[in-house]
């Protein structure tokens, strides 16, 4: 292998201009691939992060209430006008057992039961409709990092303490330690103390959410001891829909993954991934064709030298290797330079770009790009290398 590698390197060095030009081509191609891949995966991670910052990965609820139709007898034509049933606030049956089952389910990292229902918040003459959310803080924080979004006060619920969103606090003129009257209908109401103000960055949530503890919400919503929702966090984001299906099957409850509730987002993400892959594929393809054409020219130029090498006892597979090594070396060096350039672009983007989000540097991207480029270089060299190895020495020497 030593002699093949030395001949390959000498050939590359001798055809310096060609080698440099194709190296520039490979570098630019790999830089584009690295940068675009990092950019898109950074963008997607950012979007997912923002979406899931205020959303559970899987939301488990009691099954919806549906009409059950009595079966008509055989031969009877039944005309039905169905009135859909109203969906009353219903607790999840046996939620403690369900919670314990979900706690043990592999792939699920957090289970947070909560009570959620509508209410009014009143202060003086001002009334706002609010979403009452009763939580078990240690469990809830593992699903939604509410503590990171506190802007005032403390994350403290229970004993009449609640957390309200920034916009709701502004609308009702609430401040820390202030009182708020919560009315849930049917004469159930409570006066609570503002212990903290949060800002999740989503308008709808910041203007409507009121966090209490489980017990307070249960009594306001007339669901003693019950919960209406169980939020789940999963280990692998993109397996959420499979896990949701599993939870459905296991519990008979309704379980919706973030992928289902954000179908449009998922669609956008997968289209993005597809276009990234296509860009990468076509860039890689043109780089490979560039390598192939440079080596094909090199084989044509070196016909006589190849002939004399054959005459002096060089075997076909040795010549094959000489040109495969050239392809691999071009791919390796070009991709190393290109990967560095891609990293440079990422750095420039993070430093001087629009600053909307930071592109992380996926550590596996660089070795993966280099490995693929090296293999692609060898693949591109295959045809010219094959031709070199099949040259008839008699013809080749005659030139």
């Amino acid at each position: 292998m030593w002699i093949e590698a030395s001949i390959a390197l000498r050939f590359l060095r001798q055809g310096r201009t060609q080698s440099l030009l194709i190296l520039v081509g490979i570098s630019v191609g790999v830089a584009v691939i690295v940068f675009v891949t990092a950019l898109i995966s950074g963008l997607q991670a950012n979007v997912i992060d923002r979406t899931l910052g205020t959303q559970a990965h899987i939301r488990v609820e009691a099954p919806r209430e549906v009409n059950r139709l009595a079966r008509a007898g055989d031969g009877v034509l039944q005309l039905v006008l169905e009135d859909p049933r109203p969906q009353s606030l219903r607790p999840i049956d046996n939620w403690l057992e369900v919670r314990d089952v979900l706690d043990r389910l592999p792939g699920i990292t957090a289970v947070s039961p909560l009570v959620s229902g509508p209410a009014f918040g009143r202060r003086g003459d001002a009334v706002e409709s609010v979403a009452l959310v009763g939580i078990d803080p240690p469990r809830y924080l593992r699903v939604i990092p509410l503590d990171a979004h506190m802007v005032e006060g403390q994350l403290r619920v229970g004993s009449g303490n609640v957390l309200v969103g920034r916009i709701l606090a502004d609308d009702l003129g609430l401040r820390l330690g202030g009182k708020l009257r919560l009315e849930a209908g049917d004469g159930r109401d409570a006066i609570v103390t503002i212990a903290g103000i949060f800002e999740l960055g989503v308008r709808d949530l910041d203007s409507r959410y009121v966090y209490t503890d489980l017990k307070q919400a249960q009594s306001l919503l007339a669901l003693p001891g019950g919960v209406t929702v169980i939020d789940l966090t999963v280990e692998k984001l993109f397996e959420a829909d499979q896990l949701a299906a599993r939870v459905r099957g296991l519990t008979g409850l309704q379980a919706e993954s973030w992928m289902e509730s954000n179908a449009q987002l998922m669609n956008a993400l997968s289209s993005q991934s597809l276009s990234t892959r296509m860009i990468s594929f076509f860039v890689a393809m043109s780089v490979a064709l560039g390598i192939a054409s440079v080596l094909a020219v090199s084989v044509a130029q070196r016909t006589r030298e190849i002939g004399i090498l054959r005459a002096m006892g060089t075997r076909r597979r040795q010549l094959l290797r000489v040109f495969l090594v050239q392809g691999a070396v071009l791919g390796l060096i070009g991709s190393a330079i290109g990967a560095l350039a891609g990293l440079g672009l990422v750095w420039v983007f993070n430093r001087f770009g629009p600053g909307l989000f930071v592109i992380p540097l996926p550590p596996a991207l660089i070795p993966a790009a280099m490995a693929i480029a090296t293999i692609a270089g060898m693949g591109a060299a295959l045809a010219p290398a094959w031709r070199a190895s099949r040259l008839d020495p008699v013809e080749a020497i005659r030139g």
Binding site: I7, R10, Q14, R304, E305, A311, G313, R315, R316
Partner: protein, 240 residues
């Protein structure tokens, strides 16, 4: 005088082109020939007589249509490319009309090349042998030059050193002096003679130049694909 040993034997060697087609043509019509070690033979004949074809067959660069070719006692007609390539690398040295050095390597590396493609990284012994050959051809000072920094005669002398580095049993030279001036041609020819005498390797030279062929021990004349004469020229012939 080195002892006489058979290096090459041709038996009824035929070569046709375009076999099986209407244009099929036979250029060699059953050649019988034997070359011994220490033979210094010229292969002469008008152009189109089949000299180059015969040389390519002897050099295992091409395969005969019929007949057998023994190199160092091994029958080669039915060998595959791999085996012929290995045998060629081991036993045959080539000198062509146009030197055909590898431009990307220095003179010394070119001399080492046949050894390196068979054995890999050069050992100190082979390096010494290659340097010795370069100084034998008077180019010790030019070991690190590239072919394009050498004159035509110098390049041809490097090519001769290269042909001998593996100590081949048979040296094939195709118009080795064809594009050299008379004085340089004579020097190159003297070198071939000297190596023939020093290493006992058989030399077969294809040449048009009667002055060169006359200095060989033996002249084989090929006309229209047949050997029409095979004469020993000098006193050395009496040893046979």
């Amino acid at each position: 005088m080195a002892d006489r040993r058979e290096v090459l034997r041709l038996e009824g060697l035929r070569k046709s082109y375009n076999v099986g087609q209407p244009t099929e043509v036979e250029v060699l019509h059953g050649i019988d020939l034997r070359l011994d070690s220490a033979d210094f033979a010229a292969l002469v004949g008008p152009s189109g007589s089949g000299k180059s074809t015969l040389l390519n067959l002897i050099g295992l660069l091409d395969t005969p249509t019929a007949g057998e070719l023994y190199l160092q006692g091994e029958a080669t007609a039915h060998m595959d490319d791999e085996a012929r390539t290995a045998l060629r690398g081991r036993h045959i040295g080539f000198v062509f009309q146009f030197h055909h050095l590898i431009g990307a390597f220095t003179a010394l590396e070119n001399v080492l090349m046949p050894w390196m493609v068979a054995n890999g990284r050069p050992t100190p012994e082979i390096l010494e042998r290659a340097r010795g050959l370069l100084s034998d051809v008077g180019l010790a000072r030019f070991a690190d030059r590239r072919p394009d920094q050498l004159s035509g005669g110098q390049q041809q002398r490097v090519a001769i050193a290269r042909a001998l580095v593996t100590r081949p049993a048979l040296l094939l030279a195709d118009e080795p002096t064809g594009n050299l001036d008379t004085k340089t041609a004579a020097e190159v020819f003297d070198l071939l003679r000297r190596f023939n005498a020093d290493y006992g390797c058989a030399v077969l030279v294809v040449t048009h130049d009667p002055r060169l062929s006359e200095t060989c021990d033996r002249t084989i004349t090929l006309v229209d694909g047949n050997i029409v004469s095979d004469e020993r020229n000098r006193a050395t012939a009496a040893d046979a």
